[in-house]
Amino acid sequence: MADAATTTTSPSRSLIGKRRASDTVFLGLSTGSAISIMVILAGVAIFLIIQGLPAITANWSSNQDLAAIHNPLGNGWSSFWAYVAPLLWGSLWSAVIAMILGAPVAIGIALFISHYAPRRLAGLLGYIVDLLAAVPSIVFGLWGIIVIRPFLLPLSQFLNEYFGWIPLFSGQVTSTGSTMLAGGVVLAVMILPIVTSITREIFLQTPRLHEEAALALGATRWEMIRLSVLPYARSGMVSATLLGLGRALGETMAIALIISPALLFSVQLLTDGYNSQTIAANIALNFPISSGIQRSALIGTGLMLFVVSLAVNMLARYIIAATGPGAKGRKKKGKRS
């Protein structure tokens, strides 16, 4: 902590002249809390590893407790990886469905607020979409149970009847509605606000001169957007979508409440028993009823989730930072033009 304090203040010393006690204390405090963020993040990784490692390295075929955990097929898991792989698939699959359903709508909303809505209403409309982010996830989960599940039933039956030859819609069609599709729809609603707010911000930063030039050449509004706004915001849209994916990966309660899961690889969207379980929902459902090494196994799966969502988030941030419009001085550029 002391090292960091001295290195960071050396450039500003010329401003201050002589150092006072209160200054030193305050600088120490703020540097300390900045460093505590590193400590916390490292702590998250370290404690998950400490608690998860026993289960990751354990011999699963010989361990009764581990072989017995929520196993639908009856034969034991060969290793931790065999256990976590279908869960990981379920997390990714549900998040991707949510993204496919949610991202186009979110980008449409962002476009509506930034370029179509009357200027005076834009702030209010943005606030309404932000309200979606304020609704607690448990409320979305309960809403999904009693509204979305019955709502999607007719659609599920229709898709299964006429498009059942596509693997996505195949299988025994649901009678309760606890499907991956219902979970995906609720997840899509939950990632709308984050994707919308990021893309909206980037749409608004499109240089005004580009837009006005396109309009002056006689382009319609959509042509102007296609020619100046979308190319400018492309990387922003990609990274916003990835951030939405990261959010969907970690979402627990909606999935835990809505879908009726199984630990297997499946792409079927419309069935009751063949929905791939996600890591987060699996932890939430099984944590209270497990103990000892089983809990350790669940923490191990949590570690995997942590790693995957970390990777997705870092990729998104990297895309923003490296290929974003104007990379570094983006904000300044937007204001100047």
């Binding site: 300390g32 998250v44 608690q51 909303i109 996830s137 959509w222 944590f287 969502s309």
Partner: protein
């Protein structure tokens, strides 16, 4: 004379292409609404979602065809995209309204003064040998306030001081600053359940396997709350004009006093708004609290000992693991959900009020 007036007229007719009448778009929407209502009334039972979807499809096809005939392809595309984008927005508002309506309509019957002021749960009555369920959420309300309060107490100072370090002290190319900025970004992406697992792992190493406590849940919430506070505070500090800092430093005021008395005071309303919004965000977190504090029906106001009930966890457990009387459990669940939404709305209103009432004029 006649030729000179006819000349510009014919030329004008050649230059302007056809155009749909001025209010054709709203009129088109109304017509589509009526027609699709008619179709649904004839063919199927009334369904508001089906009605809206059919309206959107009819409108988009109609305006596209009409505009292609009267105007041209380019304008037709423009109008169709406008319709698409607008319906995307309607599509986002629909779940918001539906969610709020569901929660309010399901929960309003449960909500009463006694629901807030008495400890609920199921109790075994030895005289009648039956299990009696009493509605009540006092234990959850108290638990939510305690856990969120402790989380706020820990993460607000850390968050604000970190933001002060990032904006006021560190130079832009300082490696530590870039590292912290990056880590804060990463931290916003931590899945909430992982935060809960972290707190549980930490406390089970310290206290042993029965590590559930309210304080542990607060630590989990801190992991989620600190990055939100840092982000919003950082944004607010950057809005403070540097002339204020320079003027203060030029008068010989020490740097720490400048930050506390000038910078933080100028940005105070924004910082408070950000903090309140951060609290509103974490108050609804279910998964981390469920993992770290578990759940209970007993009243427990001691954050350092034993499981603690909170509103979101109560809504979840009452629905997922219902007691014998399933209807009563679900009523408990919806009551808790409605209380939670009311709490979030209150926090959002406070944030709004603070932001508008105490906003500095210079902004």
């Amino acid at each position: 004379m006649t030729t000179s007036t006819a000349g510009p007229l014919t030329r004008a007719a050649g230059l302007t292409s056809g155009q749909l009448p001025r209010f054709s778009e709203p009129i088109g929407v109304v017509i589509a609404l009526v027609i699709s209502a008619g179709i649904i009334a004839l063919l199927a039972p009334f369904n508001i979602a089906l009605w809206l979807v059919l309206t959107a499809v009819l409108y988009l096809v109609g305006i596209g065809v009409a505009s292609t005939i009267v105007e041209n392809r380019r304008k037709a595309t423009d109008r169709v995209v406008r319709g698409l984008v607008t319906s995307a927005f309607v599509l986002a508002v629909a779940p918001l309204i539906s969610t709020l309506w569901t929660v309010v309509s399901q929960g309003i019957g449960v909500l009463s003064w006694s629901f807030i002021t008495q400890t609920g749960g199921t109790k075994f009555d030895p005289d009648t040998l039956s299990v009696v369920a009493t509605p009540g959420a006092l234990q959850a309300v108290v638990g939510t306030l305690i856990i969120t309060g402790i989380a706020a107490l820990i993460s607000v100072p850390i968050g604000i001081l970190t933001a002060v370090y990032l904006v006021e002290y560190a130079q832009p190319n300082n490696p530590l600053r870039r590292m912290i900025t990056f880590l804060v970004d990463v931290m916003t992406g931590i899945p909430s359940i992982v935060a809960g697992l972290f707190a549980f792992s930490l406390f089970s190493l310290i206290v042993g396997p029965k590590a559930f406590s309210g304080f542990s849940a607060s630590i989990a919430l801190c992991v989620l709350m600190i990055p939100i506070v840092v982000r919003s505070t950082e944004e607010m500090l950057r809005l403070v004009p540097s002339e204020l800092r320079e003027a203060s430093l030029a008068l010989g005021v020490p740097r720490s006093t400048t930050i506390v008395k000038i910078v933080l005071r100028t940005a105070a309303s924004g910082i408070v708004t950000g903090v309140v919004l951060a609290v509103a965000r974490v108050v609804g977190e279910t998964a981390p609290i469920f993992i770290a504090a578990s759940f209970t029906d007993n009243f427990n106001a001691n954050p350092f000992d034993g499981p603690m009930q909170t509103l979101p966890v109560m809504a979840y457990t009452a629905y997922s693991f219902p007691g014998q009387d399933i209807a009563a459990s679900q009523a408990q669940s919806w009551g808790a959900a409605l209380l939670l939404v009311i709490l979030v709305v209150i926090f959002n209103l406070i944030a709004r009020i603070v932001a508008t009432m105490f906003a500095p004029k210079s902004r």
